[in-house]
Symmetry: C2
Subunit: 437 residues, 2 copies
Amino acid sequence: MKSSIHSVFTTKVQPTFLQRLVIGIDNVKASILKGRNAGIKNPNKTIIPPQFIGEKRTLTQVIDEAEKLVQHQDGSLLFEIGKDLGDLTKNIHKLLGSRHSFLNTVSKYYFKSEGKRIRPLLVLLMSQATSIAEKQYKIDATDFYQITDKPLTKHNDLLSYNNKDTIYYPTFSSSGTIILPTQRRLAEIIEMIHTASLLHDDVIDNSQMRRNDISANLYFGNKMTILAGDFLLARASIALARLRNPEVIELIATIIANLVEGEFMQLKNVQNSTMSIFEYYIEKTYMKTASLMAKSCQAASVLGGATLEVSEIAYTYGRNLGLAFQLIDDMLDFMTTDEELGKPTGADLKLGLATAPVLYALEEYPELGPLIKRKFSQDGDVEKARGLVYKSNGIEQTKLLATSHCQKAIDAITRLPKSDARNALIELTQKVLTRRK
Amino acid sequence: MKSSIHSVFTTKVQPTFLQRLVIGIDNVKASILKGRNAGIKNPNKTIIPPQFIGEKRTLTQVIDEAEKLVQHQDGSLLFEIGKDLGDLTKNIHKLLGSRHSFLNTVSKYYFKSEGKRIRPLLVLLMSQATSIAEKQYKIDATDFYQITDKPLTKHNDLLSYNNKDTIYYPTFSSSGTIILPTQRRLAEIIEMIHTASLLHDDVIDNSQMRRNDISANLYFGNKMTILAGDFLLARASIALARLRNPEVIELIATIIANLVEGEFMQLKNVQNSTMSIFEYYIEKTYMKTASLMAKSCQAASVLGGATLEVSEIAYTYGRNLGLAFQLIDDMLDFMTTDEELGKPTGADLKLGLATAPVLYALEEYPELGPLIKRKFSQDGDVEKARGLVYKSNGIEQTKLLATSHCQKAIDAITRLPKSDARNALIELTQKVLTRRK
């Protein structure tokens, strides 16, 4: 039963849009299923585990629920998103071209497992939600239909890429919201950049696994993985240039810079003298996770011609969602078991990383200080740190901080006009908080 | 005597613009000095070595000559270039910011040795040469003075970079040519992208040396070198976005894509079924070397508002110069000795690479085929291939092909109005052909 979720992709039958949607959006939902039985390992103390809203459901129930979401109200909004999300992989493959088959194979390796797709989903929903908000300027109708895939200049290459002027259509939902072709393209670019950063991070961190699969560096080797990451970034940059929007180009370029700086901060993990260890951690989290969500939401609104106020709402929503997303991720690292994720409990500790639960525990147990400093490198450090985290209120406090960021995200987004997309963004925020995977 | 060329940089005395110019432009010239006595190793056959125009000169003579170039005609043109070139490193350091000192250290590692600077020099000279050619549109006078270093959006980061609106002045030469601030910025971006590609290539190729220094991957480790390359690319992308010119952004983005594809083609070195082995080599050379020169020349002209015809001239010049540059590089690989470059003769062969001299030799000696196919991996392959190259006309034919590309470059550039910059570009072309290093 459990394997049938994947069989949609492993069999040669093309999934329908509906099936794609069920998988695409519902990876978040399906997570409620998996890992439901993960308890908090706490050998020393009875603590109150964070309250999870999700219920244990069968796969059929989850798919049923997803189908209800599809037929949500007038049955159009989420179907449209589902189609746009379903086309994502196909479109990214087009953007990558087909000249260097091996390089493409490596690049596409991380797209095949579909993943959570939370980043492109965010871009698409934010595009819809801001489409009915106040505009700084009216988008020219011709902009709606066309993204040039022709190089601006004649001499771009000896060889041509997808040198076509393709007509793309906006997605009008019957509830009045719109996704522009440029915003759909942005979703693709964001997923490419995210994947490029995964590829390089996996080389840098010597990763073994990624999304329950062997990581690309192990599978293809470091060289090809570096090149594939560069290749994705380069292709994303070309696609970005063709959006012809300097503000958006700058926003996305800073995302790439932030990703690098975040990875660097994580690698060094030495706090700056002007920052507390917690501030350093939050800064790293912003750089590595929240910046991409914040700026891609903002960029989506900018492409739609949003006012400064609206684009600030989009940024604030994405930033807070991203921080909450990572805080929950760091919390879950202490709550998962080997069976579920193929990821051992306290995996971050083993990597030498002191995340929020540990940093909160440090406030109660100063003896964690030296362990953090030496990156849990001595025998028994990981176990000792884990024990202290469970004894402390670190996990609850992490959840509380994530909750407050989710609240800020919801506060921001409710300043936009009511729409199905706005509801979906609010729902997404709540799911970030209650996810178990 | 020989070491004094470097002492300008190793002593703490700030070099004057003139000194910087002497070094910056004259690395090409100084090359005539070094390696003058490199003979062609030819144990089997007396061949006619390619005719070199350069004469043996002392260091003083070379500097004298460079100073004459500085005072060229009205004494202004090359002085201005020299100043712009001298400011390059300083400006790049500003673009990199100072937040992550170690990351900056790695990134800056390759800037410290100054290198040949041929790429930014090209951009600056092409900017001047096209500034007096026909224009598609008149550049707005305010564009002359200002590049915003302020992010376009308020929420760019928790932390600020160089968030200043800086006023930059164009460089007017008394001969009437102009370098715009945006073109100077382009020169910096191009050097950053080139350096990023060196950093990643060094990791991928497991390099040991770079410009007579230990390569960054050995010195700082692979992880930091990958990150530093990403960091440079990201910062270059932000600076690029701030040029606010979609056509230029696209051109530079395709340069990055081409660099990756070129490195990939070199790494795989398997020809496509639709291409001959020589076509594959030329294609790889375009991707890895000529594309950057072609498109950065073209981008310089576009920033100056050049007509399509002028920008095509710029592209054609850069493309042919780039191909010639690499062909000569590949030829010199068979003509240098260990003493000169710290690079052993036939270094490319040892890396498994079949470059133009080998591919020409293959036409005369088909027995090279299997060696090329197995990438000179068996004992004695390198020596056998080298012997056959010396026996063949491979070196002369490579020189001839380079000469024909230089001619095409000169033919293109002479279609621009006469100027000192045009002369300098022609001279540069001739020097590419006669360089010994």
